[in-house]
């Protein structure tokens, strides 16, 4: 049978494409770009929260935050490994990230100004990520889908620890409650931007939906996130900073306002509050680690020679 027809039949039948199967070049390229961008987001995403590890208010909170940041590293590694099954080179992807040629989620270009941000990131940012990622557990490319299943299981811890942290702060002093509200005000709109531009402006959606590497449109997922989050905010006792936000009984969904898309495109274009800082930090970590990579390789080479002799 014609290879392309066989590929399309596999995807349409909701079966998985595996690494050694024939696939169209466009499918491979789009997947590498999408998975790498996701991997980069996990790796860069370690920075805003890592910022608070040394200042977490108790040993318990510190241990939780460390575990969470370590998870983000693990998620990045699952995803980089998935890109390699498509023929991507790990070193090249890192190079593309630190030279700014590949992107990561715009959300990580905002600074974490208060400790409440740790909770709000877990609740809203990881909550939005879960909305995006759960449908990808059924994506057509096998290694990607399997990585997403692992990631989603772990994200659930991230979201719950964030919400619990905020509940604790909300039951504290007025100053603590104000700190949570201020943090929600800053993160709400960037969280809505995480789903990408409105469907009408999203160039990749149609083909990606056909290939089953995207399962819902940006606007569908954004709606789902808002509907999920409103009762959580009510329970928490915070106000989501959108005057247009209200329940629409006819639609059976919440109506809500649009984020500032000009800001979104500015941040995507590299002009967000911390774009330069994030990349500089990642580049420095990579360069500072060079001697460790070289030493480990030299150690392995030395032992390979010895064992070869023996």
């Amino acid at each position: 049978m014609d290879l392309e027809a066989q590929f399309e039949r596999t995807v349409a039948a909701e079966q998985r494409v595996e690494p050694r199967d024939w696939m169209p070049d466009g499918y491979r390229k789009t997947l590498i770009r999408q998975i790498a961008q996701h991997a980069h987001s996990e790796i860069i995403g370690m920075q805003p929260e890592g910022n608070w590890i040394s200042r977490a208010p108790s040993l318990r909170r510190k241990a939780i935050l460390l575990a969470k940041v370590q998870d983000e590293a693990g998620h990045g590694l699952y995803l980089y490994a998935a890109t390699e099954t498509l023929g991507a080179d790990r070193g090249e992807l890192t190079e593309k990230l630190i030279s700014g040629r590949q992107k990561y989620s715009s959300i990580f270009n905002y600074p974490t100004l208060s400790y409440a941000d740790v909770g709000v990131i877990g609740w809203l940012v990881d909550g939005a990520a879960i909305c995006n990622q759960v449908p990808l557990c059924r994506t057509s490319y096998g290694p990607y889908a399997r990585a997403m299943i692992r990631i989603c299981k772990e994200e659930s811890f991230h979201q719950r620890q964030g919400y619990e942290l905020l509940m604790t702060m909300m039951s504290g002093t007025d100053a603590q409650r104000a700190m949570v509200q201020e943090s929600v005000n800053r993160w709400w709109w960037p969280s809505l931007m995480m789903f990408g531009p409105p469907d009408a402006e999203s160039s990749n959606t149609e083909q990606s939906m056909k290939w089953r590497i995207k399962r819902n449109t940006n606007d569908e997922l954004r709606q789902k996130f808002v509907d999920m989050t409103v009762p959580q905010a009510r329970k928490l006792g915070v106000t989501l900073p959108d005057p247009e936000l209200r329940w629409n009984p006819e639609r059976g969904h919440h109506d809500f306002g649009q984020p500032d898309w000009d800001e979104f495109w500015q941040v995507v274009g590299g002009n967000g509050p911390t774009n330069a800082q994030r990349i500089a930090h990642r580049r420095k970590a990579h360069e500072d680690g060079e001697w460790v990579r070289a030493a480990a390789a030299a150690h392995a080479a030395k032992h390979a020679v010895r064992e070869g002799v023996a």
């Binding site: 070193g91 990579r293 150690h299």
Partner: protein
């Protein structure tokens, strides 16, 4: 990060009594580091009691291109399955 470090495939035994199952891959300079990295990457939540790492280059796989002819010999041997045999319903324990 290190295209110079070889790629290892990682297999984890979830608990005693189960087979090792492929969970993913990673880069490491040698087998010992591959096992340690595999522990940190793939078993942060008690997912395993035993880890195997295998150099990815050492794996030989059947080719997907010859999928149909390669597995065809078992396709027409319906007599290998217990349901092939008709036994009266009143024969017990069979």
């Amino acid at each position: 990060m290190s295209s110079s470090w070889p790629l290892w495939e990682v297999f984890v035994r979830g608990k005693r009594g189960l087979n090792h199952v492929h969970v993913g891959s990673l880069h490491a300079p040698d087998a010992e580091m591959a096992v340690r990295n595999a522990r940190d990457v793939y078993t942060r939540r008690n997912e395993g009691v035993s880890i195997w790492v295998v150099p990815a280059a050492a794996i030989t796989a059947s080719s997907p291109d010859e999928k149909d002819p390669f597995f065809e010999p078992s396709g027409d041997k319906v007599y290998r399955h217990p349901t092939f045999y008709e036994i009266p319903e009143d024969v017990p324990h069979l």
